[in-house]
């Protein structure tokens, strides 16, 4: 096995400082160069928290995250709520911000940056809305805008938080296409409630409910039930058999 892109070692974290509520309990996770990892688990189970720790947005109580790539080469597609959609920016300006990590504080965006952004917009079928205000695009388009912004930074790994929540069919299709294509080069990590829509690409699944319950290429009903604490017929249903262990 090649060297992992990043490793999470014994990460423990909770909100509200030490003695607060424990959200992640000794989580270990290694992400390999060709991974397409789906992170699943119940609401409040710590999925988003884990990603935030990996991204350096939250500092773990104990344990560490070892990056074998430069910080700033981590691509992040958050859920909608991290910014204010009434901010006066056009779609193209938002995507261009993905270039900022590559520029120093004093440098301006170059013409190459703008051309690259236009190419990315085209790949994500966003050329038509490039000059629209961010508040004027649909949920699915906005999701693609966020992906385009992450891609503009030319990341070495891409994290997506619930990318399929509330998006239209066209966006879903574009999303699957682009993620499959990206995964030829870089690992992709997706938090999702909807493994089905990602199923053809997913090659590893991690289940998180405070602890990391399972992390591997196969998953079975027993593990899912342990994570969710109740029967999860629906979750497992429709997941292709190559990621699903035989039912007992």
């Amino acid at each position: 096995m090649s060297e992992p892109i990043l490793e999470v070692r014994g990460v423990t974290f909770g909100y509200g400082g030490y003695g607060g509520e424990l959200v992640l309990d000794h989580v270990d996770l290694a992400i390999q160069p060709r991974d397409f990892l789906a992170i699943i688990g119940p609401n409040g189970g710590g999925k988003t928290t884990l990603i935030k720790v990996i991204l350096g947005l939250l500092r773990p109580w104990s344990g560490e995250v070892i990056l074998n790539i430069p910080r700033g080469r981590l691509g992040y597609v958050p859920q909608f709520s991290t910014f204010d959609r009434s901010f006066p920016l056009r779609v193209r300006d938002v995507v261009l911000m993905g270039k900022l990590g590559r520029r120093g504080l004093f440098q301006r965006y170059t013409r190459e940056d703008r051309e690259d952004v236009d190419r990315i917009l085209e790949r994500l079928k966003l050329t038509g809305v490039a000059l629209s205000h961010v508040s004027g695009v649909s949920g699915g388009q906005l999701q693609r805008v966020l992906i385009a912004r992450a891609l503009a930074g030319d990341p070495d790994i891409l994290f997506l938080d619930e990318p399929t929540a509330s998006i239209d069919a066209e966006s879903r299709e574009v999303l699957q296409e682009i993620l499959a294509e990206l995964n030829q080069r870089i690992p992709v990590v997706v938090i999702t409630h909807d493994v089905t829509s990602m199923a053809p690409m997913v090659n590893r699944i991690a289940c998180i409910n405070r602890r990391l319950f399972y992390h591997g290429e196969e998953i079975d009903q027993h593990v899912l039930e342990e994570v969710y604490g109740c029967p999860v017929e629906l979750v497992a249903h429709g997941v292709p058999h190559r990621v699903l262990h035989h039912h007992h």
Partner: protein
């Protein structure tokens, strides 16, 4: 009744117009950040913290501008150093800052022997009493603030828009946020010396809100906001000249009237004014 042309032969009126233009340009740019980042209350808080610094300087016989700048910068740096997650509690902190700053200022002014300027001058200022030196002072500050904002423009916009993403990219979020707050503080402090707190807050908020309803990209909003600010200031001064109204309030009320007209026009055309989602906190 003298014509406006005759009026321009008065130096005080020329100074007032010039001050209004400089203040409008500065506030148009800085105010756009204040409005989109919802920092109006913060600007107000900084201005009152500055008042505390001024009071202390009066008491010790030092130039009050020094105290005002020092106090506002200290407050801006302290707020900027705070975690983004703590931003929500800014609201309360600013309230405390506001009250304590005022109290400190009033106590020291009270203790200052002999002449001390009264509170009304500080609150309302008087754009008609601006001296040539004061114009040079605000011009110098305006140039510095605009140059710094221009220099770090792309970074500041990215941080203002999405702090989380900027941080993931390795952008120095705290530094840029502190820089933005510092520039807001300088703008507020220098302008209140000249035109008073209330007119500063008005120029920081009314023109950008109007511009936000008309334009959808940041540069457009800034340019429009500057132009609206200049128009409202000149218009307000003209009204105050002809109808013998207090100049600051005339400027503010003209701005408010324009805001109402633009919002109503947007509504009539069936477009929801964009300021509404901003206040809904979508």
């Amino acid at each position: 009744m003298p014509s406006l042309f005759d009026a321009l032969s008065y130096e005080f009126l020329r100074n007032a117009l010039l001050t209004g233009v400089i203040a409008s340009v500065l506030c148009g740019v800085v105010g756009t950040f204040v409005v989109v980042k919802r920092l109006a209350f913060l600007s107000d808080g900084l201005s009152h913290a500055a008042f505390g610094g001024m009071g202390i300087c009066y008491f010790f016989g030092v130039n009050p501008l020094i105290g005002a700048v020092a106090m506002a910068l200290a407050a801006a740096v302290a707020l900027g150093a705070m975690d983004g997650e703590t931003v929500r509690s800014y609201d309360t902190l600013i309230g405390v800052l506001w009250a304590v700053g005022m109290a400190v200022g009033i106590v020291f002014l009270y203790l200052t022997p002999g002449f001390a300027p009264n509170l009304t001058t500080y609150l309302f200022g008087n754009i008609l009493l601006v001296s040539r030196q004061e114009i040079l002072l605000i011009l110098a500050f305006a140039v510095v603030v605009l140059a710094i904002l221009g220099f770090f423009f792309q970074g500041i916009v990215a941080v203002a828009f999405d702090e989380v993403f900027a941080k993931v990219q390795g952008v120095r979020v705290r530094l840029l946020m502190t820089l933005l707050l510092t520039m807001i503080a300088l703008t507020v402090v220098v302008l209140i010396q000249v035109v008073g707190i209330i007119l500063v807050v008005a120029l920081l908020t009314i023109p950008p809100v109007i511009a936000l309803m008309l334009f959808k990209d940041l540069r457009g909003v800034m340019v429009c906001s500057v132009l609206v600010g200049v128009a409202v200031t000149l218009g307000g001064l003209t009204l105050s000249f002809y109808y013998d109204l207090p100049s600051g309030p005339a400027i503010i009320l003209l701005g408010a009237a324009l805001l109402a007209v633009v919002a109503a026009a947007k509504k009539l055309r069936g477009e929801a004014p964009r300021l509404l989602p901003m206040f809904r906190g979508e």
